[in-house]
């Protein structure tokens, strides 16, 4: 065990490098996914069929074909078509497309779930559609979408592990190197899983704080007691967004 710990400490810089790659993939993938989700989600929520139908097709396409297929397609096929992406970009793009498609559906359904009275009041004030969406509907839909987006963000983090298949030295890859260095599978992978677990927990805490802020903005929750409310809400049901 002490041998393992010594190896772990000497191996810390490599683990840190792996963590950085995993972090880059998560942050880049999430940013891209959010952008894609907003564009496609708003298009699907719009009353115009010429916008909604193509967006729906794109969403179903990227939800229906598996993440790994998309990743391999970008990595193996794209160069044949003359576009060379480095593995990190491939990873970020695949994650953004796949989770962006799932998130787009979250954006659409959250917008659809904003109280109809809000749309009606905005119409009664003759607000323009853009203004109505930006100022009235979206801020309220945002609160509804955060829990589902949090679940997807953690799934995205878990999804980053597949990039070790396309030569990237992310956390998963570094854990395997640690296994080889220590010769102790149980030790190396326990460390690895714990690291992922902590990362997921941090993301959840961050998203909970974001949700709290959004709820305060809508007057649904008090400003004070922020930390307390974040901690006490750890066990609330997880949102289901798959399928």
């Amino acid at each position: 065990m002490t041998d393992n710990l010594t190896t772990l400490f000497s191996y810390a810089p490599q683990l840190w490098d792996g963590l950085k790659i995993t972090f880059l993939l998560t942050a880049g993938g999430a940013a891209g996914a959010l952008l894609i989700a907003l564009v496609l989600g708003l298009a699907m929520a719009s009353p115009y069929r010429w916008l909604g139908i193509p967006a729906r097709i794109v969403v179903e396409f990227f939800r229906g074909t598996s993440l790994l297929v998309q990743l391999f397609w970008l990595f193996y096929v794209l160069p044949l078509l003359g576009a060379n992406l480095d593995p990190l970009s491939c990873g970020i793009f695949a994650l953004a497309l796949n989770y962006g498609a799932y998130s787009a559906e979250v954006v659409r359904s959250s917008i659809a779930h904003v109280d109809r009275g809000q749309w009606e009041a905005a119409t009664a004030l003759s607000l323009s559609p853009v203004r109505m969406m930006r100022r009235i509907i979206f801020p309220q839909a945002w609160l509804l979408m955060i829990p589902s987006l949090a679940t997807l963000l953690i799934q995205l983090l878990k999804g980053t592990a597949v990039v070790s298949f396309i030569t990237l030295q992310d956390l998963t890859d570094r854990i395997d190197q640690l296994r080889q260095a220590t010769g102790d599978t149980f030790f190396a992978y326990t460390v690895g899983l714990l690291l992922y677990f902590v990362l997921a927990w941090l993301l959840q805490v961050g998203m909970d704080a974001l949700e709290h802020r959004a709820a305060v903005a809508l007057g649904r929750r008090e400003k004070s007691g922020r930390l307390r409310s974040v901690l006490s809400r750890r066990h609330r049901p997880k949102k289901e967004v798959l399928g």
């Binding site: 009275g117 009606e120 009041a121 119409t123 009664a124 100022r135 903005a217 809508l218 007057g219 649904r220």
Partner: protein, 273 residues
């Protein structure tokens, strides 16, 4: 009742002052197979305050929602001050107006809802100034000054920076009234504005509306179950049943000497409460 053979277009030629504030011409509204309104024709003069009464499902709320363009007409025309609201007649064709024009047509029509529908992500003042600034192009300072005056008028001068969720239902509804008035409406639609309120909060809201009725000449269409309020405020009552106007006259006449048996039945049922 005005003749129904005239087209909205021919009316649009006349002087605006002579035009009715609201005119329904052969209006039909269906939800799927369910016919809510059919061959409906009536007009409301500028400054007139009309209460629509009738059993639920008789189509009175639908009328307000059609004027506010929250529902789309199945057939027929609605004119506001002589101008077609959502559709116009070109030759023999009934043509939908562009969305932008419809929105511009509704600028001077205000509506207050049963469930207030204040925007929870904005303060009271922001709720009121949003549309004057972004629809009418008012300056922020002017809009705010106007909002303060309106809040004072409905008895909420100190609530300007509150969040709507912190207010009682009666206070929220008065903010909603101020929000509608901030657009300087020519027509104000009141859709069961006290139905969602606790009984002790109803009087404040009705008081604010009474004051507005007395001091302005805004055309009002009111759907309510508050018969005393209807009697005090409106100059005219229309009784609806199954999408038809079955009685139309001054409140004193309708409330004391209803001509139609169904009106009498409805009134006795409502007044028993």
């Amino acid at each position: 009742m005005p003749g129904t053979d005239e087209t909205p277009q021919s009316r649009a030629d006349g002087a605006a002052a002579a035009q009715p504030a609201i005119e329904f011409i052969d209006v039909e509204k269906r939800f799927g197979d369910n016919v809510v309104l059919q061959d409906l024709n009536f007009s409301v003069a500028p400054g007139e305050r009309v209460t629509l009464i009738g059993p639920s499902g008789s189509g009175k709320t639908t009328i307000l929602r059609l004027i506010m363009t929250l529902e789309s007409l199945t057939d027929g025309y609605i004119c506001v001050h002589g101008r077609p609201l959502t559709h116009e007649k070109r030759g023999d064709r009934r043509v939908a107006l562009p969305k932008k024009q419809v929105r511009s047509n509704t600028k001077r029509i205000g509506m207050v809802f049963q469930h207030f529908n204040l925007f929870p992500n904005m303060t009271v003042a922001e709720n009121i100034i949003e549309a004057p600034i972004h629809v009418l192009g008012m300056s922020r300072a002017d809009a705010l000054e106007k909002a303060r005056a309106l809040l004072k008028r409905v008895g909420l001068a100190d609530k300007e920076n509150e969040h709507p969720t912190k207010l009682s239902g009666g206070q929220q509804q008065r903010v909603a009234i101020a929000r509608a008035l901030a657009m300087d409406p020519e027509v104000l639609l009141l859709d069961e504005v006290t139905s969602a309120l606790d009984p002790e909060l109803v009087d404040d809201v009705l008081g604010a509306l009474r004051e507005i009725a007395e001091t302005t000449d805004i055309t009002m269409l009111i759907v309510t179950h508050e018969m005393q309020f209807a009697r005090d405020v409106s100059q005219r009552v229309m009784m609806f049943s199954d999408g038809q106007i079955i009685e139309d006259g001054p409140p004193d006449e309708i409330f004391t000497r209803p001509q139609h048996e169904r009106t009498a039945k409805f009134l006795s049922a409502v007044l028993e409460h």
